[in-house]
């Protein structure tokens, strides 16, 4: 499910519809992948500490913590705070 969003305002949960932003909590960078056993210390440090942190469009985990409790992936601009798309997070 996707929800286009073109202007700032409530975030749109794919399950609950438009809801106040205060109901949602930021949940981290979905691009982080756990390296295998036997990886180098540098790779492990990268997994633990290095995040995409883009200036502009970002893919982010969010959780509708005060609503349905679902984990979501939002495409959000980190400069304008515009939320462009919210989809269900898949494992």
């Amino acid at each position: 499910m996707t929800n286009p969003m073109i202007k700032p305002g409530p975030m749109i949960c794919p399950f609950c519809g438009p809801r106040d932003a205060s109901e949602f909590r930021y949940g981290g960078d979905p691009s982080v992948a756990r390296p295998g056993f036997g990886c180098s210390d540098a790779d492990w440090a990268g997994y633990l500490y290095v995040r995409e942190n883009p200036r502009g469009l970002a893919r982010e985990y969010w959780v509708h913590s005060q609503g349905c409790g679902q984990w979501l992936v939002a495409e959000r601009d980190t400069v304008t705070h515009l939320v462009l798309r919210v989809t269900e997070a898949t494992p």
Binding site: D41, W44, A45, V50, R51
Partner: protein, 424 residues
């Protein structure tokens, strides 16, 4: 090359003020030049905030390197240097942090004289409030650690706190009752713009070139070394580079081909309308996530914690403003009648352990000064001194050695996650 010593004509003094008064104020000149950058320098510093300008001053003063360029994308001190709540303190728990922040405080104590520029450092004392016995236990631990390190700090009883800060709500039944606290008496506030301008003027007087409105768009890298930076004023070569760009660090690192363990977030601050003197100290409550001091103009300067979302917006979210103001009014009921005059935000580069990153980068002649997160203003003198030492010698100073980028791989973190509300 010897540095041009600023002549008596250009020193700021009561005598000069008097003389200019008699001459109709016509003898003042700009505090620093604005030259076109040359094509090559010995050293280039990216970032004309407090840390970058301080680094330029220390390159010239400590190491005799005056063929230096400071590149600033916008205007001097227009980033976090000009957006913070100006608190200077060194009440940290870990030894590595204590010594580096206290070294910074010590430089601040003599900085107006060192730079011949009044930074208005006012050592009015920083009080951290405890609201419960368990918080008092935590403060006892911090105060003990500071005293062992030889840094003045003491515990305050509830009566001590209420006598020093009479406007605090004294009720034992309020949301955040005062249980006690701790104070660092040498801590205080300074005029943030003056810190940037004072360093800029002093560095310029030693021959450093400062270029504003000049963005870095790329790096020319050969064999793991930076040969030149591509800027909006052309390609500029240097033997050694430093970067002190706070919230722009991840972007700049990306341009240079590496990544940093930083997350950029918004920290906001605000000021009330001006009042007659009513609050002497800086008063902070970590559990209540707010801190407040009164500026020389009489405004209450108010800050709180980070906004909980990555952001480069450079403006504070209203939800956080409301939260911080609610906390302040809880502690100081009398402030509820005040009007807010301004509110703003800055992009801070937070590191995983809330400690800065100082040291070599993955490129051999590019050195890092970043990750100060919410606490960079207090560290401007020492951060610049450390970056200058790294750039001039290629090696760590003893104070900066624990703060290298490699600590994230070795696991030797300096965890200051609880070093204050937003450690300013």
């Amino acid at each position: 090359m010897t540095a041009p010593v600023p002549g008596i004509e250009h020193r700021y003094s009561a005598l000069r003020l008097f003389r200019e008064g008699l001459r109709g104020q016509r003898g003042w000149t700009p505090a620093w030049r604005s030259p076109e950058p040359r094509r090559r320098y010995d050293a280039v510093i990216i970032g004309g905030g407090g840390h970058g300008l301080s680094a330029a001053w220390h390159l010239a003063k400590d190491h005799g390197i005056t063929d230096v360029l400071v590149i600033e994308k916008a205007w001097l001190g227009g980033g976090n240097t000009g957006r913070n709540t100006t608190i200077i303190r060194s009440n940290y728990f870990h030894r590595e942090s204590q010594v580096i922040y206290d070294a910074s405080l010590k430089i601040y104590e003599g900085l107006s004289r060192e730079l011949n520029y009044n930074i208005m450092f006012s050592q009015r004392g920083n009080i951290e409030l405890a609201h419960a016995p368990s918080e008092m236990e935590g403060m006892r631990r911090v105060v003990n650690a500071m005293q062992v390190a030889g840094i003045e700090s003491s515990l305050l009883t509830r009566d001590d706190v209420l006598a020093m800060v009479p406007l605090l709500d004294p009720s034992p039944y309020c949301r955040w009752p005062v249980f006690g606290g701790m104070i660092q008496r040498r801590a205080g506030v300074a005029r943030h713009d003056a810190v940037a301008w004072g360093y800029a003027r002093a560095a310029d007087g030693m021959g450093v070139d400062i270029v504003q409105n000049c963005a870095v768009n790329g790096f020319r890298i050969e064999g793991g070394r930076v040969r030149a930076v591509e800027t909006s004023h052309g390609v500029i070569e240097a033997s050694v580079f430093g970067m002190a760009v706070a919230g722009a660090s991840p972007e700049l690192a990306r341009l240079a081909g590496f990544r940093l363990p930083l997350l950029c977030m918004t920290l906001q601050a605000m000021v009330s309308e001006p009042l007659k003197p009513c609050l002497h100290h800086v008063v902070a409550s970590t559990p209540n996530s707010a801190y407040v001091s009164q500026s020389d103009k009489g405004e209450l300067v108010i800050g709180g914690g980070l906004e909980p979302v990555p952001s480069y917006a450079r403006r504070g979210d209203l939800a956080k403003t409301r939260e911080v103001l609610a906390s302040v009014v809880e502690m100081f009921p009398a402030f509820s009648t005040l009007r807010l005059m301004r509110q703003w935000g800055g992009t801070v580069d937070t590191s995983p352990d809330n400690s800065p990153i100082l040291g070599p980068s993955p490129l051999t002649n590019l050195y890092l000064n970043c990750g100060w997160g919410t606490g960079g203003f207090k560290a401007i003198p020492i951060g610049g001194k450390m970056l200058a030492h790294l750039m001039a010698t290629g090696r760590h100073h003893d104070l900066s050695a624990p703060f290298g980028l490699e600590r994230f791989a070795t696991g030797r973190l300096i965890d200051e996650a609880h070093a204050g509300v937003a450690h300013d």
